[in-house]
């Protein structure tokens, strides 16, 4: 696949991407924190932003809706998800990486004004969400260093798909 005898090695279409435009567009954040920008945020600042820009859709404490429930701390006594069809899945009990919060909120939230928050604001609501999910203390500071270090309770449950063809069983 890497060679194709029927084709020239290169067609020469397109133009080189400059370092600058790559830096501007390559906003993805990896679980190891690569991609996280400078800046930082706190739970306190996050509380204000959340109340002003998020609570109308996700509820005052993150559990009221009307849209996705964002807060559900992990509890040792809960039924495992495979036995509990109605169990709420949220950051505290289902998300495997904390970096995903920053990445997703910066891309897509608030739903009605995506891309409108500064990096510091995103760090702050991320901090608030982590705190509300009982994952960090009220005085924690969230930044490129601290965010990837947060161990998410659900991480240990994740397994990679091993389904295959053939005549079952149907895992």
């Amino acid at each position: 696949e890497r060679r194709n005898a029927a084709m020239p090695e290169h067609f020469g279409y397109g133009r080189p991407a400059t370092e600058k435009e790559i830096a501007a567009k390559a906003i993805a954040i990896r679980p190891d924190g690569v991609g996280l920008p400078a800046g930082s945020g706190t739970v306190q600042d996050g509380a204000l932003i959340y109340a002003g820009k998020c609570a109308s859709c996700h509820g005052a404490t993150g559990v009221e809706g009307p849209y996705n429930i964002l807060v559900a701390p992990d509890t040792a006594d809960a039924l495992p998800f495979d036995q509990a069809p109605k169990r709420v899945k949220a950051i505290g009990n289902y998300w495997p990486y904390a970096t995903t919060i920053f990445d997703y909120v910066r891309r897509a939230m608030p739903f009605n004004a995506p891309g409108s928050l500064s990096d510091n604001e995103v760090y702050s609501v991320t901090a608030w969400l982590l705190h509300a999910n009982k994952l960090i203390d009220a005085d924690a500071v969230i930044n490129a260093k601290t965010l990837p270090g947060i161990v998410m309770p659900a991480r240990k449950y994740y397994v990679t798909d091993s389904r295959k063809g053939g005549d079952g069983p149907y895992e």
């Binding site: 397109g14 080189p16 495979d82 036995q83 995903t100 897509a108 995506p114 397994v159 063809g165």
Partner: protein
């Protein structure tokens, strides 16, 4: 025949009127720039705030009309100017490159007919008056044309150690998925045409990723960026969503392949059956290759017989099946099950739950049964969800 504009020209009309009393006595609209639907036909998708389902029970054959292709997106359909559209490929590559739409169209192209299905394509309401559209209308099929991603990979010089790539859309969610590079070399495409014409905005205009046989969400629409990397990015759509609880409290990630599935689209709710010969019709498909066989039961699952498959049977494609049956007027249940070329047999919901637990989510592909009542009414036979 030389026809010039004249009194005759005045007859040019657009659109077809509702039926004339005797169409043989009234000259109809002359040729126009675009064809129209009959005013008697109103095929429609069924929209919710997050998706829109294809009316499978109203369709024939393997092509889904483009304006009836299902929709699923996370922040609406973006408005993209094809003249400013760009696709950037960078990361673990020799030559980070930006391609315009015109650039993409210049590369050697390929067309293929294949299905796209949302891995959340399963509804289990506990009621009888639901249609194939309601149950699994989040699958549709088009003829897609574009460039093989492998051609672009060669062009930019993907590093041998690159193992994953991020595909990023230019919608308002800037939606992203991590994809193994092996799929990129295998059969992934960047497609810009659908059923002969430019992709529709709802399906990714002006260009989308197409990963044949994989869950629809991975075929990132409105694609603007591909970043080659040595690991997955763990985006929201591959962690919070598009993962499913499985046995022993586990959560399954990167469940890409769509398992073989089928659905009887006729007779199905809301069809009304008459005694006598009935052609049972439906669709079968598999993300693992061709459909090898579809089996039909007309006695609620006791016995199964092979349906006829409509040629051409294509790789990872909706395959139309038909089965001739004489209905004697008794109450019964009819069902179909798909078998793909790997030998995978479409399971029952019971088998799926037994294997994965009752709390599982995406990738549910159970055999669907339709109940036929004495009076010919055909209704959905609700799954026992336990």
């Amino acid at each position: 025949v030389v026809l010039v504009e004249s009194s005759f020209g005045k007859m040019v009309q657009t659109g077809i009127p509702e039926a004339a009393v005797d169409p043989t006595k009234q000259v109809g609209p002359l040729p126009g720039v675009l064809g129209t639907r009959s005013p008697f036909e109103h095929p429609q998708r069924k929209p919710s705030l997050t998706s829109s389902q294809t009316p499978l029970q109203d369709l024939y054959g393997m092509i889904t009309p483009s304006d009836l292709h299902f929709e699923r997106h996370h922040a609406g359909v973006p408005a993209i100017d094809p003249n400013s559209y760009e696709l950037m490929i960078h990361g673990m590559v020799d030559k980070p490159t930006v391609f315009s739409l015109a650039d993409l169209k210049r590369f050697p192209s390929v067309s293929r007919i294949c299905f796209i299905e949302c891995s959340g394509n399963f509804r289990k309401p506990d009621k009888e008056n639901i249609t194939p559209q309601d149950i699994c209308g989040l699958t549709s099929q088009s003829e897609w044309t574009g460039v093989m991603l492998s051609t672009l990979f060669r062009e930019v010089g993907v590093h041998p150690k690159a193992s994953w790539f991020l595909a990023e859309g230019s919608d308002a969610a800037v939606m992203t998925r991590s994809i193994p590079v092996s799929k990129g070399w295998e059969d992934a495409m960047i497609v810009y045409a659908q059923n002969g014409e430019a992709i529709r905005p709802q399906q990714g205009y002006p260009a989308r990723l197409l990963l044949p046989g994989w869950e629809g969400n991975t075929s990132v629409k409105w694609i603007r960026r591909i970043e080659l990397s040595d690991g997955p990015f763990m985006t929201r759509e591959e962690t919070s969503k598009y993962t499913e609880p499985v046995k022993d409290g586990k959560i399954r990630q990167f469940s890409f392949t769509m398992d073989a599935r089928s659905i009887i689209t006729y007779p199905a709710y809301p069809a009304q059956l008459q005694k006598g010969w009935v052609e049972i019709r439906g669709l079968a498909w598999s993300g693992r290759g061709k459909i090898r066989q579809v089996e039909i039961s007309t006695d609620a699952g006791k016995t199964w017989n092979a349906a006829r498959l409509q040629e051409p049977v294509l790789d990872k494609a909706h395959t139309y099946f038909r089965y001739l049956w004489q209905w004697d007027g008794d109450t019964t249940a009819i069902m179909s099950r798909a078998i793909d070329e790997t030998g995978y047999v479409q399971p029952s919901l019971e088998e799926l739950i037994a294997a994965r637990g009752i709390g599982t989510g995406y990738h549910l592909n159970p055999v669907t049964a339709w109940l036929i009542r004495r009076d010919g009414q055909v209704v959905y036979s609700p799954e026992k969800w336990k």
